[in-house]
């Protein structure tokens, strides 16, 4: 007959993971892929923050004497056609990807929350108008809308952030609206109403905090796609303008032309984009499992 070792079973279920390192250890054992994602994301953020310390070279300094140098001791990821160090450009490029990723996700989510909350809470014609606007924005693919927006606003960092943020609004507002509609009917909202709390206060103090879990899950999932969209826009020459070292633009400069002669110009920026997006996707999946177990696969 099988015997159950209660202590080990409790440990496995995380009963002793009450604080600090133990909690982190439990998370790492239970969500291995999520932890890998978190490590990639932390590395990505640290790289962006300490870019000047990590790379010896300036990402913008042109050195024609060393143009298209092969990867080696001096430039361990080689140099581009202007002699700029590829490693320095990738490390500094993390700043742009991070700024666009966080900036556009935060902006898109904030506007989405305001629209979703107002739409779900007020209903009526406000809801109808917001819903139609959302339908319109959702009928265009992310990249197409972002392309048209950057064309309209002009290529610059703030404009790229806005151009990518706008297409994110519909998804966020839909999720927040659906949650608000469900929450509005719950007894605690009714109780708040009965003690005379104002509608705005109920929406902000009681409804909004309860929609945070799905919002965090959604925002993390969107972080990866914003990084990819920025890279695509810059690759097409409509994103971050020269001389800023955007990963997408690095590929655009090198594209088909250097596929034959300087493959390192194609390989390294691509790995950087894929790794950053892969990390956020892995972490996003684990976060969804933790915060929204109903969606767990």
């Amino acid at each position: 007959m099988a015997t159950i070792n209660y202590d080990s079973e409790l440990r496995r279920a995380g009963a002793n993971a009450t604080h600090g390192w133990r909690r982190l250890g439990f998370f790492a054992r239970r969500y291995v892929l999520g932890t890998v994602g978190l490590v990639i994301m932390v590395t990505f953020v640290l790289t962006a923050l300490f870019a000047d310390l990590i790379s010896r070279y300036d990402p913008l300094t042109v050195d024609s004497a060393h143009a298209l140098a092969h990867p080696g001791w001096q430039h361990w990821m080689g140099t581009d056609s202007f002699g700029r160090d590829v490693w320095a450009r990738i490390v500094h490029g993390a700043r742009i990807s991070l700024a666009v990723g966080i900036g556009s996700t935060a902006l898109g989510s904030s506007i989405g929350v305001i629209i979703g909350l107002t739409s779900g809470y007020l209903s009526g014609w406000v809801d109808l108008v917001f819903q139609r606007v959302t339908d319109i924005l959702q009928a265009l693919p992310l990249l197409v809308l972002a392309l048209v927006m950057t064309a309209a606003l002009g290529p610059s960092l703030p404009n790229v952030i806005i151009a990518i943020a706008i297409p994110l609004i519909p998804t966020v507002s839909r999720v927040i609206r659906a949650n608000t509609l469900a929450l509005r009917e719950l007894p605690f909202v009714e109780a708040a109403k009965s003690i005379g709390m104002s509608e705005t206060r109920i929406a902000l103090r009681h409804v909004l905090p309860n929609t945070l879990a799905p919002l965090i899950v959604l925002a993390t999932a969107q972080l990866g796609s914003t990084i990819l969209t920025e890279a695509s826009l810059s690759f097409l020459g409509l994103g971050i303008p020269e001389p800023y070292p955007s990963w997408g633009r690095m590929l655009s400069e090198s594209a088909a032309e250097y596929v034959r002669t300087a493959p390192w110009l194609v390989i390294f920026p691509g790995i950087a984009i894929s790794l950053a997006v892969f990390g956020t996707n892995l972490f996003g999946d684990a976060l969804r499992d933790i915060l929204d177990p109903r969606q767990r696969g």
Binding site: D135, A139, L140, L143, V144, V266
Partner: protein, 315 residues
């Protein structure tokens, strides 16, 4: 059902009108038009010539009038003239549609034929090493930019065949067909097959927990029969929705892939038109994309009602 279809069609119309307004005005909020670009490039030019050209192109009129003029033309099959080539926009767009349609069709085919079986395998072996591996592969598929994958394919082609595949508008042999359409379609499909796989997996897992699956097992049905006859048949329904989502998803991939492979399709044409501020082309192409996406979603909704007898849109 009839009332539902009519309501959906009316909503579609409202959405399309909304998109036309958004796109038209968005493209014109930026200061400077095609005439400014042309005249800036030429240096000092007579202001009267500039005014003449603006009148000729119709961009001296109020915006609302320009919009109505465009919509009126659109309804009569007149899409205006390209500012760059000066040819009718319809003549510029039409020949490019079959190229992109072929690519998109192939990409969808690849994505379904890879994504659905892998999704089933992953769900049936939930929690196993194989499931873990397939999930990591699908996540990495979602993380790889299509244009980078395209560039890697070009690199492989250089090292294997010594050259980059060149687009052939009229492929005759299988080899030409493969390099012209299949390779770019694979670059696009890799990402969307990852999406298909993830949705098939979660849909299968949901179904595998149902009572009737347990009943089928209790009756002694084989694993294959349970998985394919009972589970997949029901799990395939949400996968149909993916086709609707992927219509939008694929277009993003097509834009960058057509650029990498130098394919003269609709998607690359959009990027070129945006760079040149060729408004008639941009607004008509965006409308074309919106129509495709909106109709794909509508078709998916209707297919849902056809395939699932439990769903009947009565209200």
């Amino acid at each position: 059902m009839f009332a539902y279809i009519v309501r959906r069609l009316a909503l579609m119309l409202v959405t399309l009108i909304g998109i036309s307004i958004v796109i038209f005005f968005l493209l014109r909020i930026v200061p400077g038009n095609i005439v400014d670009i042309l005249f800036d490039a030429a240096g000092f030019v007579d202001p009267a010539d500039k005014a003449n050209l603006e009148r000729e192109l119709g961009i001296d009129q109020p915006l609302a009038l320009q919009y109505l003029h465009w919509i009126w033309g659109l309804l009569h099959g007149d899409l205006g003239y390209s500012y760059v080539s000066e040819k009718p926009a319809l003549q510029e767009i039409l020949p490019r549609i079959p190229i992109t349609a072929r690519l998109a069709g192939l990409a969808l085919l690849f994505s379904a034929s890879i994504g659905i079986p892998l999704g089933v395998i992953s769900a049936v072996n939930q929690g196993s090493r194989l499931d873990y591996f397939l999930r990591v592969v699908s996540l990495s598929g979602l993380s790889l930019p299509s244009f980078w994958l395209g560039l890697l394919i070009l690199m492989a082609s250089v090292s294997l065949f010594g050259n980059i595949p060149i687009f052939n508008p009229d492929p005759k042999t299988f080899g030409e067909m493969f390099t012209t359409y299949c390779l770019p379609a694979m670059a696009v499909a890799f990402r969307s097959s990852a999406l298909t796989m993830r949705i098939t997996r979660s849909s299968m897992l949901e179904i595998l927990r149902q009572d009737y699956i347990r009943t089928a097992r209790a009756k002694g049905a084989s694993e294959a029969s349970v998985n394919f006859h009972h589970a997949l048949k029901n799990a395939i329904l949400p996968v149909i929705t993916v086709v609707g989502i992927e219509a939008a998803f694929l277009i993003g991939g097509l834009i960058v892939t057509e650029t990498v492979f130098n394919i003269p399709g609709v998607a690359r044409f959009l990027v070129e038109a945006i760079r040149w501020r060729d408004y008639p082309i941009v607004q008509n192409l965006v409308m074309l994309i919106a129509v495709v996406v909106v109709f794909a979603n509508f078709t998916v909704d209707m297919l849902y009602a056809v395939f699932d007898p439990r769903i009947r849109y009565t209200d």
